[in-house]
Symmetry: C2
Subunit: 243 residues, 2 copies
């Protein structure tokens, strides 16, 4: 029989934002593998399990760790924040799968920050939308620029992940400058920090104001399409219903 590994999206952090499937996978596992912060977010409930982690940038090692534990006969849950298939480790696990033919992968989807953040802001992604990460650790900046340009040319609503980090403090500003070539400085925008975690911060603003936002690794940024608006403090992208 094959060793099953659950690649599990745990949502933003709070247990009540996980799906029943995700909780079940965690409960059934002997070993939980994840980034240290995400293991911490799981809280006390799964403390009895063997919990293993690797630091940031050691994602390949983390995936191998999950495979190795499964090969020992342990039931393994590899956790990712949000959804495991949105900037998570699902594809990397599949890339490595040829080396571990006795393991079977199952991806358990979760609520990604685009959707959990949108819910806090109102309904900013309620029409066609794009999700773009500004992190250039694994993607050349030119590719990111090209996607930002395409997104604004297609008049998509946009959710931006990883808008800044200590080393990339001006990336959101650079991204806004690219968008401002095609979009009005008044374009309706918003942001959410620490979605579904302690210290949630939320705000709406114009694209011009967004340019000066002090974002960090835990901020998700939302840029409306040309028809989006701020209504009573909420960021809304209309679906097009006639009232």
């Amino acid at each position: 029989m094959k060793h099953e590994i659950y690649i599990t999206g745990i949502g933003p952090g709070e247990e009540n934002m996980m799906t029943g499937q995700a909780i079940q996978a965690l409960e059934e596992s002997d070993v939980i593998v994840g980034y240290p912060l995400y293991l911490k977010l799981l809280g006390d409930r799964f403390q009895g399990k063997e919990c293993l982690s690797t630091p940031m940038r050691k994602e390949v090692d983390r995936c191998r760790m999950a495979y190795e534990k499964a090969m020992e006969g342990k039931k393994v849950c590899l956790i990712c924040s949000g959804d495991a298939g949105v900037y998570g480790l699902a594809s990397l696990m599949y890339e490595l799968s040829g080396e571990y033919p006795d393991c079977k992968l199952t991806v358990i989807p979760g609520v990604t920050a685009a959707n959990s953040g949108a819910a806090v802001l109102g309904a900013p992604l309620n029409h066609d939308f794009c999700v773009i990460s500004l992190s250039d650790l694994l993607t050349p900046w030119e590719q990111i620029e090209k996607r930002l340009t395409a997104a604004v040319e297609g008049d998509f609503a946009i959710a931006i992940y990883n808008p800044a980090s200590r080393k990339r403090s001006d990336y959101l500003q650079k991204a806004c400058d690219i968008l401002l070539k095609k979009a009005s400085p008044e374009r309706a925008c918003g942001y959410v920090e620490n979605i579904g975690r302690e210290g949630t911060k939320v705000g709406v603003c114009s694209l011009q104001e967004l340019r000066n936002l002090k974002a960090n690794m835990f901020t998700t940024v939302f840029i409306g399409n040309s028809q989006s608006l701020i209504l009573d403090g909420k960021l809304i992208t209309k679906r097009g219903y006639r009232l």
Copy 2:
């Protein structure tokens, strides 16, 4: 005190793919409002509640029904499949909110078909991606074409909602023809029908083959970016880790 309405994404259908928050909102509600199929998907658990629906294209009436029930002092849960803010009724509820100042809206996010379908296929959206609906009921077809073109020019992975209906049987074909102007006919693609419901159908194929897929209202279609690949039957979009 304001009357609270929960606008709740129930995920694909199975109860174990709902979040704890969504189940809690349903449990606490006196009235559940939704499209008939989605009420049916909830199953027996919430059968004791007052369940109200309107047919398709009567979404404005459905939203008003939710508000009216809340104004009567009932706790109301308006349900949407997937996530309430992805082609759901969240933005329409906010648009109408000025008429019901005594009501307070809370959006509860859910797992949308882009993510639940991706999990079944492997990891097709594991880098920047777009979500596009092919339904032209509320959006001019020219706008949809423009977005498809922008999506392929930006080399996004793409999730397509509403790829076809009885009246729009050739829309997926038209969409593929637009993508084929920039993308290789060998571009890696996939589709999932009835995600998380009875009769799930799943497949991977090339973009050329996708053109001939008989899709329906319950199909979600995935088009990889230029680097995506089909690996042992799974559709994978790499994140860029060096192995």
